[in-house]
Structures are given as C-alpha cells and as structure tokens.
C-alpha cells in the first residue's frame, strides 16, 4: 500500500506548456475578427473592381451595339448580293453549248449516214420545277437518221464512237447509245437496204445539284 500526499490542490496546479486553453482562446479572439476583416476587405475590393469593369464594359457595349447593328446590316446586304451574283453566274454555267455539240456531230457524221432529225434538250434536272432560277439542266441529244446496208450497223456504231470520242463531247458525256435500228418503212420506191436509227446521248448535269 502506498500513501501519496498532494501538497498542491488540484485548482492550484499550473501547466508548464506555453500554449494553454486560455492563451489559445485569447489568440483566437484577436485573430478571428482580423481574418474576417481581411476577408471582408478583400471581398469589398474585388467587388469594387468587378463593378468598375462591368460599368466600363457596359459603356463600351453601348457604343459598340449600334455599330455592330450597322455591320450586321452591311453583312446581310453583302450576303444577299453575293447570292444574286452566284445566281447570275449559275445561268452562265448552265447554258448549254449546243453550237459546239452540233459542230461535233457534223464533224463526226460519216458520208453514208443521212441525218433526218436532231433534238437537243436542256430541261430542268429531275425534281426541279421548270420556272426555277438558277436552273439546273440535264442536257440530252437525240439523233435520228437513215443509212444504207451493207454495213449499216457498223457505220452507226462508228458514228456513235466518233461522237463519244469527239473533244467537244467527250468531257461532258454521260452515255451515248443506239436506241433504235430498224428497216426504213417510209422509203418510197426504195429497197429494203435502207435502215433508220436513233442515238440517245446524255450529257452531264449543268449547274449545282443541291
């Protein structure tokens, strides 16, 4: 059994540490309001800066807005006029050069072939109403003629190939086919040697397809 005698009462005891609950609470009592004041000042200052910037930008915007409206109107007018210019240009692009095509057909026609009818069409492309501008055209040529046997078919094939390979036609060509070859029923007093034929030529679409 041990016997301990306390010479100091509990409430007379003191800590050896420099940090005590009381000193900490005193420090906190000074530092906390300081921190709050610093935060409030900083907030007030940044708010002031924000408001100043805002008012500068508002006044800049007030002076820029009418000039922007003018610029937008100018841009709108330019866009409309560019659209008109494009539409006019489309008319030029979609105009078929039938003179060159006719010349090419003339130059490709062999002597034994007699052409009876030629139809060159550039109707609006499929699905486009006839009165649309700018037009998109789908050019096509139909050639009808008469030729005598022997060698009628060969002459027609050679004629078709000559058209296909002609420098004026070849870059624009989509297809060229003999679509009719028959005995000529209308030849009066003629022999059964006469043949009629038809060649259909499709050229590439002229104009922008949307």
């Amino acid at each position: 059994m041990s016997l301990a005698i306390n010479l100091i009462l509990n409430n007379e005891r003191r800590s050896g540490s420099k940090l005590s609950g009381r000193s900490l609470s005193r420090i906190a009592a000074i530092v906390s309001p300081l921190i709050v004041i610093v935060i409030l000042l900083q907030q007030g200052f940044s708010r002031f800066i924000l408001k100043t910037n805002l008012s500068i930008l508002e006044s800049r915007w007030e002076s820029a807005a009418p000039r922007q409206t003018f610029a937008q109107r100018q841009q709108g007018r330019l866009n409309q006029n560019l659209q008109i210019a494009r539409e006019i240009e489309q008319w030029k692009v979609t105009s078929p050069h039938w003179d060159a095509a006719l010349l090419a057909i003339m130059q490709s026609t062999p002597e034994q072939i007699h052409l009876t009818n030629m139809r060159l069409d550039a109707p609006p492309a499929t699905g486009q109403p006839p009165q649309t501008s700018p037009p998109i055209r789908q050019p096509a040529i139909r050639i009808e003629g008469r030729v005598q046997e022997p060698g009628a078919m060969a002459a027609i094939q050679s004629f078709r190939n000559a058209i296909r390979q002609h420098a004026q036609i070849e870059p624009l060509l989509e297809s060229a086919d003999v679509i009719n070859f028959a005995a000529d029923a209308e030849t009066r007093g003629g022999t059964s040697e006469n043949r009629v034929f038809a060649i259909a030529i499709k050229l590439k679409t002229l104009g922008e397809t949307r």
């Binding site: 805002l54 915007w61 610029a71 006719l102 009818n117 055209r137």
Partner: protein, 221 residues
C-alpha cells in the same frame, strides 16, 4: 463587468441553450440575408461580365469586317449592275414588254446570215408580281423568260447563229433545239425550232435599288 453564471446547473444549461439559439439565429440571418444575396449578386455580375466580353468580342470582329464587307459589296454590286444594266445580259423589258426586246435581239443576231426567222413567240410568261412581303422563300432573284423561235437555215448557218447568240450573251440559254431535215432539196434549209431563255429580274426594280445602295456606299467613303 463580470457576468456570473448561475450556480444551478439547470439554469446554466438554459442560458447556454439560449445563447446557442441566439447565435444560430444571427448566423442564419447573416447567411440568408447577407451572404447568399451577396454571392448571387457577385455571380450575376460575373456572368454579365463574361457575356459582355463575349458580345464585345463578336461586335468588334463584325465591326472590323465592315470596311472589308463594304468594299466587297461595292465590287459585287458593280459586277451585277455591269451584267444587268451595262451589258444587258439580264433581259430588261421595254415599256414592260420582254418579247419586243427578245425579238430584237434574235433578229439583230441573224443579220448577215442566210437564214429566215419564221416566228418568235413567248414561251414562258413574265414573272408573277412580287408580294408586298418580298420574295417568297425558295424563289430566286431571277426568273427564266423564254421565247420559242422558228427559223429556216442550213445546219452550218444555224450553228453560227447559235454561236453568235452565245457570244453576245453568255447568260442566255437555248433549252431546246429541234432540227428537222425536211425534204432533201438543194440548197438544204432545215426547219429549226428553239426555245431561248434569258434570266430576268423577279423584281424589275431590284437593279434600281442596287444602284441606290451603291451610291449610298460610295457617299459613305
């Protein structure tokens, strides 16, 4: 002054509870009526600032392009007016009549050629009137005006005639051409029919408006 707390434990607890409640009330009032409105106001100002910066950036970009656009617009209008008014590539009516002008063009191009123009008829009418609300959606600024032309010529002359029409107006389009050999006689003159199409203004007043716009632009310079 020294505040002495009551000795009674219950009384002391009540006082602490009241102090706690009072502090919580003050804190709530601060948060609800000061802090949150302040944060919201700052957020709103920041959003407005960002919005204004964006608006100004766009505005400045558009304003900076004004001069370039004005110059480009002037050039474009001049090109359009040159095609429409100077060269008359876009068919303009004479006293409201397109056919007279078209007939004159076709007859003039036939000068010096051994060909006979049999008839010139209107194939597709003039553009319908523009509604007050402006051009309807999907309708362009131009409208095709077409005539049907019948003539008698040999093939070579016809080719030269078509070539001359195209040389004089590259915007003109021959949309249909039919050459019928006819009876084999010498010299050969074929029956030729063609549909000739010109662009015309949907609104015939449009070139005048463009000219006025050009004048206004030039005055601004």
């Amino acid at each position: 002054m020294k505040i002495k707390l009551p000795e009674d434990r219950n009384e002391r607890t009540k006082i602490f509870v009241m102090i706690g409640l009072f502090a919580a009330g003050i804190l709530y009032a601060l948060v609800a009526f000061v802090l949150l409105p302040y944060i919201a106001s700052v957020g709103q100002d920041r959003r407005r600032l960002a919005e204004l910066e964006d608006l100004l950036w766009r505005a400045e970009r558009e304003i900076n392009s004004t001069e370039h656009n004005r110059r480009r617009n002037t050039i474009t209008i001049k090109e359009i007016l040159s095609i429409s008014e100077n060269h008359r590539f876009i068919l303009r009516p004479s006293l409201g009549n397109y056919l007279l002008v078209a007939e004159d063009i076709l007859n003039r191009a036939a000068t010096d050629f051994p060909l006979e123009i049999v008839s010139v008829r209107e194939a597709s009418g003039t553009p319908p009137p523009i509604p007050e609300t402006g051009l309807p959606a999907g309708r362009g600024f131009l409208w095709p005006y077409g005539v049907s032309l019948s003539l008698r010529a040999n093939l070579h002359t016809a080719i030269r005639y078509i070539n001359r029409l195209k040389q004089e107006n590259p915007y003109l389009a021959i949309t249909s051409l039919n050459i019928n050999a006819g009876p084999a006689t010498v010299p050969v003159r074929h029956n030729i029919t063609m549909q000739v199409q010109w662009p015309v203004w949907s609104d015939p007043e449009h070139p005048n408006r463009l000219a006025a716009e050009l004048l206004a632009d030039e005055e601004q310079q």
